[in-house]
Assembly symmetry: D3
Homo-oligomer: 141 residues x 6
């Protein structure tokens, strides 16, 4: 996996928000901003983009086109990933997909955010209520 980074002290927050969406649409695994402090009292944002090695050049070109930076630095990172399977459970508010991740003895169950958010709005109940219901539904099977 490749990490691409650029320090941006001559772009607005509006344009950065726009660029995040463009990068995610272009296939980046993850895009995140870190608040940093640069020279001459400049509050700035460090743009970090995690991509597959095959996408490095395409994403580099997108960063150079859409941001104010004149250079992009990149670096290879190794990764340890959990195995993932999916399940679906019925909650009083509707169906929710669960991500089941395993790594050795460790097993983690994570309700899909999108499903929970959709049901929370449809049923006018707090997001955490749907979230908890999904976790409990799985316990009972």
């Amino acid at each position: 996996m490749v990490m691409l980074e650029a320090n941006l002290d001559d772009m607005t927050g509006e344009t950065l928000g726009y660029v995040m969406t463009r990068l995610l649409d272009a296939g980046a695994f993850d895009v995140f901003f870190t608040p940093i402090q640069m020279k001459k009292n400049r509050p700035a944002s460090k743009l970090s983009v995690l991509v597959a090695p095959a996408d490095r050049e395409k994403i580099t070109a997108l960063i150079l086109a859409e941001t104010s930076t004149l250079g992009v630095r990149y670096q290879n990172w190794h990764r340890t990933i959990m195995k993932r399977t999916f399940e679906e459970v019925e909650t009083p508010y509707g169906a929710v997909h669960l991500k089941i991740a395993t790594y050795g003895k460790t097993k983690k169950v994570t309700p899909e955010y999108a499903d929970c958010a959709q049901l929370a709005q449809k049923c006018h109940i707090p997001l955490t209520t749907v979230y908890q219901a999904a976790l409990q539904a799985r316990k009972h099977q």
Copy 2:
């Protein structure tokens, strides 16, 4: 004392650095940035300016002229301040002014940053060395 604030998601770090200097030159007690996160994935900066009540309108006008905000919010704060006197001590590297602040039983001695920085560069020694020397010089009097 009055606190003026504005959330800025449509200005660059370069311009913010420039505005900080203008505001300090215009008489603000203190100017500082806080990294915040605004809507639509926008990394932004909250500008905070501490001014005397008499300067509120002048500084408000400067903020509205020099930044991208269309509004400035303000609020009165009370303040508890220590009494301050000044002393000068001789260190092996040169003279340093000390701020002596008192509040009830509490007394604090703070070497003036500007003096220490100037001597550190002149004598090619770390800033903390000058700082410590100033504190020790006072102990010996």
Copy 3:
């Protein structure tokens, strides 16, 4: 204008993102997060919500329902606001609305983000290109 705040060290980023959208939909002027550091080594988020006084109770209830906080603090802030009018200009990429803000001698022209973002995607050109085109179009009238 009323500022509502709550320090949140027992909520996830996912839920905070969800709550920001709910609060904006419910009529808050502005909603923003500030990264803070709380006791017991807890990285947390300070939620800040700017509302009209008439909406304080409704928004307070929404915060208490949708977040993990057991209390909301609030505070009145005064505001100085620029007068705003709107114009529309034709750019080579399409029409863009401009916000024209005035305050005494100060006049600021800000292209509407939404128009610029839409045209940038439609014409596959960087956002700043549309932004600059909108500013120049007005210069020529």
Copy 4:
């Protein structure tokens, strides 16, 4: 409730961590740090302390004694608080106290962090497992 604040650009992180503990021990409701950017390229910390009005002077004196600041600003905030009752539930790992908070139609159940952390370490299981078990235990009663 009173909010006390001071901007600190001449103190170390070590001393700030020490001061947080002293302030909490001295009865502050909440103490938190906000990363800010001050003049002359100084990364700094804003210290915020929430206290009962009766404690303002005592806590102000402690801040002036234990930190490098020469002044403390303070401001009154109003607060809307949920009603709280406590329950205890049995989980497979041991007993956990639950905070039950209500506000109008809203009801929130929060397992006590201290109980969960203690059981998680005793039973060598992840904290969230105990947390979830406590929430489910209540569902079944």
Copy 5:
């Protein structure tokens, strides 16, 4: 030295604080959080853990067990370290260990935080007073 990292937008501050302690107890050189901004308006925390290469797998397993992440990225860093020796000095408040670090012509003296904090509380004096006393005690030898 190996740097392990994970971006966490689906964990609470409480759990992050707990995990920091577990990781330090498990032998990590250093553990720190960086406030970041992830997609969908999510305020998040980047967890960074510095470990000896031999501990990479053990610490990776702990991160996957105790946090919500489904993957951990890691990277080798080289290090330049100062030689360290220890001294002990007597101050008016008690004994304090000093770390003496050298690198070429550079020599730095750092009073042990733990000793200073303990004496500051025992003698009810500010931490910086003990700290300064320790530095001065060494000057006199």
Copy 6:
């Protein structure tokens, strides 16, 4: 290009500001601070310095001399850089140098901050006004 980093929880903001200037004067490409949270409730700053490989040792020695850290970690990063040429344009307020950067089809025009800031102060007009004037001046040639 080499990235040098150190986590600093035992230095003041004043000294960090001083060190940034020293490092830039010593030839670092870029120096920036990131607010981080370290153990024992310590708000800290991560110092990041981008240097040419040939300068690594010189800059490492400067960091070890001027900061409180006892070690510096470093890492090689690759870089993709845009080609740069310079132009000068006449604006109603004076001459401004423009950086013209190209990468494949992408071309970006950036007015030199220093020129704009100087003219903005000389003519008592907002920085952005000079900035926009420089961009428009180029359009007309």
